[in-house]
Amino acid sequence: MQAEVTPAPKPKADQSAAISRQRAKGYNLHAGDKYYAFAFLGPSLLVLGTFVFYPMLRTLYLSLFLTDNVGRPTVFVGLKNYIGLLTSSAYQASLQATAIYVIAVVALTLILGLLLAQLAAKKLAGIQWFRTIFSATMGVSVSVAAIFWLFIFSPSIGLFDQIGSFLHLPIVAWLTQPGPAMTAVVISTVWMNLGFTFLILFGALQMVPQSLYEVSAIEGASESYQFFHVTIPMISPTLFFTSTVTLIGAFKSFGLIDLMTAGGPNNATNLLVYRVYQDAFLSGNYGLASAESVILAVIIALFTLLQFKFLEKRVTY
């Protein structure tokens, strides 16, 4: 095909002009290409349509209805599901809890991940061992992590409170008080995230050419100046990637919440996504749950968009 449309060799300048013209217009489909296009796209369109687009539209549709006890949409209520949610204090509390959770998880994951990566990048004896340890949480499943942290946070037999009582510190009811419960869940999630984040950031740090640090050292930049003016900008594309992935992941956190607090106490850790699960799969309230899913999807899309708009500008080089 290409051979037919490519013009005979011409002077170089002319040819490159032709190519850039073609690029500007976009690739032209020829009659025969359309069949190819559909043949190749067909299977994936079919799969996407069945498993992505249809469920999305169906969710949107369901969110405008009350559903009966077998999940059929029966009464059209327009936006009332949404209005009801947004004006309910419980849902507002969920929004707030999600905001706190997401911000804390993203910030702590990135800061700690970067710290560990910086440490591991140091050429010290036995550092290989630490690198393995730091990235180890990647191989831990959510349920195992939950059991591990439940043991640590458990009242009366928990590791934290055992140590606390040994040191005569006041006992903290980690999972039965709203504030500490959020802290506990955030700590566990950050711990879970750390392995992956560490590995990615460590890889990014290794990719920064040594000569940049050498030139900075010679040009009079202190270590902290180098960190903020060389390291951070150099790994900013990776930071952007990890922050986006962590952010979306935090919005979708489910396993640890379900296993550790089940949204409690007093809905303090009842994140938006957990609410969707409760309303859809426990209460069978599909209309409401659909509305909640749509709100969650919009929020995630919004955040991702914002992130791309503001952060990506600063990281492209």
Binding site: L212, E214, I218, E219
Partner: protein, 369 residues
């Protein structure tokens, strides 16, 4: 600012010396090249001077002051890297200003110095571009401008031209040299390219095998190589190194083929004799007494490069007039008509035999062509 290297040494682990006993004096305003094959420790030496690698033994003085253990930023020098080490996320201007900002200079002074430096390297119209939008040569200039802006009088350069194409490299040699003279910089220049060193440097340090082989002016190094390594490292095509033995009172026989008359008698021993291809003459096939057979023929335009084998099988490189015709397998008659260097069996130079011509003259050979 002069620099004094006093018996510098570097070992990463005990008794494994990467560099040993490096002593040199570099004059203020001098262009000083460090040359050697890869792995000889020349970059290590440069980084030791820069302070990026700790010095194991010896003493470093910069401008008369001991700098052996000073951190890099306090050595009052700058460095230009082979990779240019530009910050990809900064514009040309900001790259040049990096060090000044890190050292917290007043904004006005930064601007003045940066503008001046960018102007010196002719990059005014590119000052807002990012490095990725520049050509290799332009990036190299940005790196230079950064070095210039810092106002340090010592500039270390680590193979700064290696990543450029051949033509640009030749152009940049002149530019670099001019800039160095104009600014009165003391430059320590690391390269593996002997031509660069020869064309740019005031003095050359030849490093090989973790040690200094020779320090001298380019002419010194070329005309009076201290040993077989230096002799064969400098000059293209490479000097031929032929095994020799004493065959008469004042005569050496090279590779059992060529005779070299000596101005004085020498002790009986094994010698190595170095002769540059340009110091050999040859007579085309059918004339003279054939003693070498052509193995490959390379046409270089201005001359022909021949790789041949002497009758005893020792390889030898020859240059020939481009108008003559040579074919693989031709038998030639080779003779000596230039300088020959006599080295002992360990490779240390003993003496030089000037114009060791025996029978035909060069003009004669040309006339025959």
């Amino acid at each position: 600012m002069s620099i004094e290297l006093n018996a510098l040494g570097k070992a990463y682990t005990a008794d494994e010396w990467v560099l040993q006993n490096v002593t040199a004096h570099i004059e203020s305003g001098e262009f000083f090249a460090i040359v050697g094959p890869s792995g000889c420790g020349k970059s290590t030496l440069l980084r030791m001077i820069a302070g990026l690698i700790p010095i194991s033994t010896g003493e470093l003085q910069i401008d008369g002051k001991v700098a052996t253990d000073l951190p890099p930023k306090d050595r009052q020098l700058t460095m230009v890297f082979q990779s240019y080490a530009l910050f990809p996320f900064l514009s040309v201007t900001d790259n040049v200003a990096f060090g000044l900002k890190a050292r917290k200079f007043p904004a006005k002074e930064i601007e003045e110095r940066v503008t001046k430096a960018i102007k010196l390297v002719n990059l005014e119209e590119f000052k807002d571009r990012r490095p990725r939008d520049l050509s290799g040569g332009q990036r190299q200039r940005v790196a230079l401008a950064r070095a210039i802006a810092s106002d340090a009088k010592v500039c270390l350069m680590d193979e700064p031209l290696s990543n450029l194409d051949a033509q640009l490299r030749i152009k940049m040699r002149t530019e670099l040299r001019n800039l160095q003279q104009e600014l009165g910089l003391t430059v320590i220049y690391v390269t593996h390219d002997q031509v660069e060193a020869m064309t740019m440097a005031d003095h050359i340090m030849v490093l090989h095998d973790h040690k200094i082989q020779q320090i001298g002016t380019p002419l010194d190094i070329y005309n009076r190589p201290a040993n077989t390594f230096v002799a064969s490292f400098f000059g293209t095509p490479r000097m031929n190194l032929l095994p020799a033995r004493v065959t008469a009172d004042r005569e050496l026989t090279l590779a059992d083929t060529l005779k070299l008359a000596l101005p004085k008698p020498v002790p009986v021993a094994d010698y190595i004799v170095g002769i540059r291809p340009t110091s050999l003459y040859l007579v085309p096939q059918g004339k003279g007494d054939p003693n070498a057979q052509v193995k490959t023929v390379e046409y270089l335009g201005a001359q022909i490069l021949l790789e041949a084998e002497l009758s005893d099988g020792t390889p030898i490189e020859l240059t020939a007039d481009p108008d003559d015709v040579y074919r693989t397998g031709d038998w030639l008659s080779v003779g000596i008509d230039g300088n020959a260097y006599v080295f002992d069996h360990a490779g240390e130079v003993q003496f030089m035999v000037e114009g060791g011509r025996q029978h035909a003259s060069r003009s004669h050979a040309s006339a025959q062509a």
